[in-house]
């Protein structure tokens, strides 16, 4: 059974249909890359998966549990949404680190609050700290744990943000153009840690404009255009041998840039 199954997701903003009938599925340990031109709905799709937007149609199923079903009109409580969204993690384009906390505190905050709510903070305190340090170490930031976000470079900030998302142990980690806000020199270090995660078979959905990276890391590629999935398949199928004219056009723009 697939880990994630997305069926017929629709989303309108006013009269504009931003997502129409988005369906795909992915297995545990896979890295899926979503590509497509600006405004095609990639961010909106990730936001729907993370319950930041409520789709107008469709279902989202994880581990066979239907997390979202637009046809079910019973009201979902905030607590329920909180529990459900923890299946997903989201790394934002603009990092959104908490400025008043150090790198380590940024990573620890959510696990600490969750442990406090469970009433097990005492027992877990040390372990949360150890885990946060390990994650930052894995991101190559062992010497930066006590720094505040404004003392870090963009690439370092984004790596803290990745550690912060991993600390909640999501089933599926989503990245929304994780390197778009970075200078080219800093892009590499972030892509390197994502590649490292892929090597460990972390389940990931990566929205990216880095075609070479998508081809290399993704097990599966989705090409979106105007709120539709135009093509999906292996990188070899979608990136190297696209069948649709629109996909070829989009990819041609990249090869011209030499990307």
């Amino acid at each position: 059974m697939a880990l994630l199954e997305v069926q017929g997701i629709k989303k309108n903003f006013g009269h504009i249909e931003v997502l129409s009938d988005i369906s795909f599925s992915m297995d545990a340990g896979q890295a899926v890359s979503i590509i497509g031109s600006s405004g095609s709905g990639k961010t909106t799709l990730l936001r729907c998966l993370n319950f930041l937007e409520k789709p107008d149609g469709g279902t989202i199923t994880v581990h066979g549990e239907k997390l979202f079903d637009a046809s079910d009109s019973t009201r979902v409580s905030e607590a329920d949404i909180r529990r459900k969204r923890l299946h997903f993690g989201l790394v934002f384009q603009s990092f959104n680190l908490f400025p008043q906390y150090t790198a380590l505190e940024n990573v620890m905050l959510a696990p600490q609050l969750a442990a406090k709510e469970r009433g097990t903070y005492r027992q877990e305190e040390a372990q949360i700290r150890t885990q946060a340090k390990e994650l930052l170490g894995q991101m190559g930031l062992s010497d930066r744990t006590e720094n505040y976000p404004h003392q870090l470079s963009g690439g370092q900030c984004q790596r803290v943000a990745i550690a912060r998302a991993l600390a909640m142990k999501p089933d599926i980690l989503c990245f929304d153009e994780p390197t778009s806000a970075l200078d080219p020199e800093l892009t590499g270090e972030v892509l390197r840690v994502i590649r490292g995660l892929a090597d460990q078979h972390t389940t990931m959905i990566i929205v990216t404009h880095e075609m070479a990276f998508a081809r290399e890391v993704a097990d599966y590629v989705i090409f979106m255009d105007g709120g539709h999935i135009l093509e999906q398949g292996t990188p070899r199928e979608v990136i190297d041998n696209p069948t649709k004219e629109r996909t070829k056009q989009f990819l041609a723009g990249y090869s011209r840039d030499g990307a």
């Binding site: 969204r85 959104n96 400025p99 969750a114 505040y148």
Partner: protein, 218 residues
């Protein structure tokens, strides 16, 4: 003479400080409640509060003092403020609290609305509750942003307390002025300025310290 004047002014200054401190005690939290009201999704909540803020910020505090003190007597034909010094002080306090709460609420609102949505969303996707997000992520960032405009407003309040004398609250300017009639000297009135300067000087140092304390993040 200098000694007598100083003592007399100190007495007036005590009332000034009392009015100042009590206004802050009530207006700081009330302002936060008003700011939440002014940002409420429901127009029935939001609009009346925006209307109140418009009235309060759109008219002179001097006029509000007079209306709050004399208004109930004229409209309800009864004295709601009690008699004597205490009644007048209470009326002045209410006027100051309402007025400053409205100004504070706009500062709070500006502070809260200047926090990027990404901060809320980052908390949400990490599974935090709305309360946790406000208390653990948003609040300190808001405080950092509002300290400079707040300190301005609070230093203005120090001087605005002198308006209370229009309803005969015996604050420091009143004490100074009294010497013109009783002793025919005007310098005690000018001397009151020293008290204001020292007080606002202390506040400036305090706010500067707070700003520095919050300088550890951006």
């Amino acid at each position: 003479m200098f000694y007598t004047v100083t003592l007399s002014l100190l007495e007036g200054f005590l009332t000034t400080v009392k009015l100042f401190a009590l206004t802050l005690v009530f207006a700081l939290p009330l302002g936060l409640i008003i700011s939440f009201g002014s940002m409420n999704r429901l127009p029935v909540v939001r609009l009346p509060i925006r209307f109140l803020i418009w009235i309060v910020r759109g008219t002179p505090l001097l006029l509000q003092l007079l209306i709050i003190y004399y208004g109930p007597g004229i409209i309800l034909k009864m004295n709601v403020w009690g008699s004597g010094d205490e009644g007048r002080f209470l009326a002045a306090l209410v006027a100051f609290v309402v007025n400053y709460a409205c100004y504070f609420s706009e500062i709070y609102r500006g502070g809260i609305q200047s926090i990027p949505v990404g901060q809320y969303e980052a908390g949400q996707v990490l599974g935090m509750t709305r309360t946790q997000i406000f208390r653990r992520i948003i609040l300190l960032q808001v405080i950092k942003r509002i300290v400079p405009p707040m300190s301005n407003e609070i230093i203005t309040l120090v001087k605005d307390t002198s308006l209370a004398r229009v309803i005969a609250v015996y604050e420091i300017i009143w004490s100074g002025q009294a010497f013109i009639k009783s002793a025919g000297i005007i310098w005690p009135l000018f001397y009151t300025g020293v008290f204001y300067l020292v007080f606002s000087g202390l506040l400036t140092v305090l706010f500067h310290t707070i700003e520095k304390k919050l300088g550890f993040f951006r």
